[in-house]
């Protein structure tokens, strides 16, 4: 009888344990769900009112400068920096990934390269900013410019895209390659026809991830490309304003917060849109290729 009772007690303890466990688990999950949503909602709540057509389309104006007008140069500058960065890093990263998956015979090369790339991806962006500042801005005389900042961001994005593209291409079943190669076509042809269409969704996701990371980064561009006030209109050899650096300057000058909320909201909204559209495009791609 006592044994049965003790079994019951243990059974109840077990049920209690499970109950608490599930409750704690659910609260953790809830927190994981609520945190990002509440941050975005908070920014939206405080910042949406300040986002007007003027803000997006005009340059800074007013007395003191920036108190009215808009932040158009910042939006242009951010986009331009990412485009230049991609122009630098995309061919190098995707080309390198293609070599590793399609042409490289040595497994050791692949493993070393991916290990190095992962280490380099972990290097904080400010280190590349230091390089950009001392080497590109000062030593090479580029001064703070779109080009210097773009190259720096390219370096930041390069390992991320490389790893992403490598993983995406590697995930394509090797039978597709082998079938084509067995028929006697060149590796490039086999890649183009069989592998690329399957791997490009993954590559695109990696590119957008890297570009988003670069778009939102301030540390490497503060040292290499940005100024507090710039005009609209882009030039490779001129500095730019960017959304993240503008937000930082607003906070460090302790300016009134409306524009800061709006800048933060625009930044997050642009990133969300990019990620969302990539998700849409890649899921549609996947739908098509299954057919």
């Amino acid at each position: 009888m006592a044994a049965a009772n003790s079994l019951l007690r243990t059974e109840r303890t077990r049920l209690w344990q499970d109950g608490i466990f599930t409750a704690v688990g659910w609260s953790a999950g809830l927190l994981g769900f609520l945190l990002p949503i509440s941050i975005v909602m908070f920014l939206f709540y405080r910042g949406a009112a300040a986002i007007t057509w003027d803000l997006l389309w005009q340059s800074p104006r007013g007395f003191p400068l920036g108190s009215s007008g808009g932040i158009r140069p910042a939006i242009e500058g951010s986009l331009a920096l990412v485009v230049i960065g991609l122009a630098v890093s995309l061919p190098l990263a995707v080309g390198g990934a293609i070599y590793l998956t399609e042409y490289s015979a040595s497994d050791r090369l692949r493993r070393t390269a991916s290990f190095c790339a992962e280490c380099l991806a972990g290097v904080p962006a400010i280190i590349y900013g230091l390089f950009g500042y001392s080497f590109l801005v000062v030593f090479w005389g580029m001064r703070t410019s779109l080009l210097a900042g773009g190259i720096t961001l390219g370096l930041v994005m390069l390992p991320i895209i490389l790893i992403g593209a490598y993983e995406a291409l590697r995930a394509v079943d090797t039978k597709y390659r082998e079938a084509a190669l067995a028929l006697g076509v060149s590796r490039l042809y086999a890649f183009r026809k069989n592998v690329w269409s399957k791997g490009r969704a993954g590559i695109m996701t990696a590119v957008v991830l890297a570009a988003g990371h670069a778009f939102g980064s301030a540390a490497p561009v503060l040292l290499t490309a940005t100024v507090v006030i710039a005009r609209s209109g882009l030039d490779l050899s001129s500095p730019v304003m960017t959304l993240p650096s503008h937000l930082y300057y607003l906070v460090s000058e302790a300016s009134p917060l409306d524009q800061a909320y709006a800048t933060a909201l625009i930044l997050v909204a642009l990133l969300l849109t990019a990620n969302f559209s990539v998700m849409l495009i890649t899921s549609r791609q996947e739908g098509r290729s299954i057919r």
């Binding site: 703070t144 507090v228 030039d235 460090s252």
Partner: protein, 292 residues
């Protein structure tokens, strides 16, 4: 393959559009950087300049017909000098006198006085000192800002025992350098002092914290009803005293140019000196020339 070619073309077009760069344009843009005190003045001034003269040849027929472009950034006076030295900016904005070593490193250079500023000691109107004290001596200030005096009661027995919260600008700022040189001397700032990244941030903190004491640009402190500024060695930080040169912590607001300035830079500098004095006054500083 077609979609890839299309993508390449599109991407190439975007890159091309972004690459609207002529190597020649390098000369036609002006970069100014440095003091956060000068930043609002130069920002407004350059904006006016760019509005008034849309292209360089309207200013001087000998110049090319490219758009006038002036970029302004902050970073502090120290950053202004260092950037000027390394060639990153064309005009260094400096809110203090140049040090001898800096002058030596710069070699041939020109300094233009845009305006004058007084570094005033200020507190919040709710600060214990606000009603009580009118002036400080340099020695008192050195003791406070080095952290030797930790509570307001140590300064004056009748004051409440509130902690002294020190607000300073970071080490590269013009106001820090002049304060260190003229007041602190050999003493170092207390490591507990809050270092703020700009004059604007200093102002904000001063307005919200009633235990804080700071050295801040008088242009920001004097007309602010939330702040109380003190006299130093019995001289008040007024425009008059600064112009007369009797306030000890007066500092010049300088534009510094290295070597022989390019014609565009010369024209812009002249514009700032001649036409922007009213902007200087509007921001609360002492003009270097009388405002007409």
């Amino acid at each position: 393959m077609k979609s890839f070619a299309l993508f390449l073309m599109g991407f190439g077009m975007i890159v091309g559009m972004v690459t609207v760069a002529a190597a020649g344009d390098q000369d036609a843009t002006i970069r100014a950087g440095g003091s956060t005190t000068l930043l609002p003045i130069m920002a407004n001034c350059s904006s006016e300049f760019m509005e008034k003269y849309q292209t360089w040849d309207r200013l001087d027929a000998a110049l090319p017909k490219s758009t006038t472009t002036v970029f302004v950034t902050g970073g502090g006076s120290g950053f202004g000098v260092k950037s000027l030295l390394s060639g990153v900016v064309d005009i260094g904005m400096v809110s203090r006198d140049l040090k001898d070593q800096e002058k030596k490193l710069l070699g041939e250079h020109q300094s233009y006085v845009v305006g004058k500023d007084a570094v005033a000691i200020a507190v919040n109107t709710r600060n214990p000192l606000a009603g009580r004290k009118k002036a400080f001596t340099a020695a008192e200030l050195a003791a406070i800002f080095s952290g030797d005096i930790k509570s307001y009661q140590e300064l004056d027995r009748s004051l409440p025992a509130k902690p002294v919260v020190l607000l300073t600008r970071d080490s590269g700022a013009g106001s820090t350098e002049i304060f260190q040189e003229k007041i602190m001397g050999e003493k170092k700032f207390s490591p507990k002092a809050l270092q703020l990244p700009s004059q604007g941030a200093l102002l904000e903190k001063l307005q919200t914290n009633s235990n804080a004491i700071a050295y801040i640009s008088s242009g920001l402190a004097l007309n602010n009803k939330n702040l109380k500024a003190f006299a130093l060695e019995n001289t008040a930080p007024t425009d008059d005293n600064v112009t007369k040169g009797v306030y000890p912590l007066a500092r010049p607001l300088l534009m510094v140019v290295k070597g022989a300035p390019a014609p565009e830079v010369r024209h812009f500098v002249n514009y700032v000196l001649n036409s922007c004095q009213k902007i200087v006054v509007a921001h609360g500083y002492v003009p270097s020339r009388s405002v007409n």
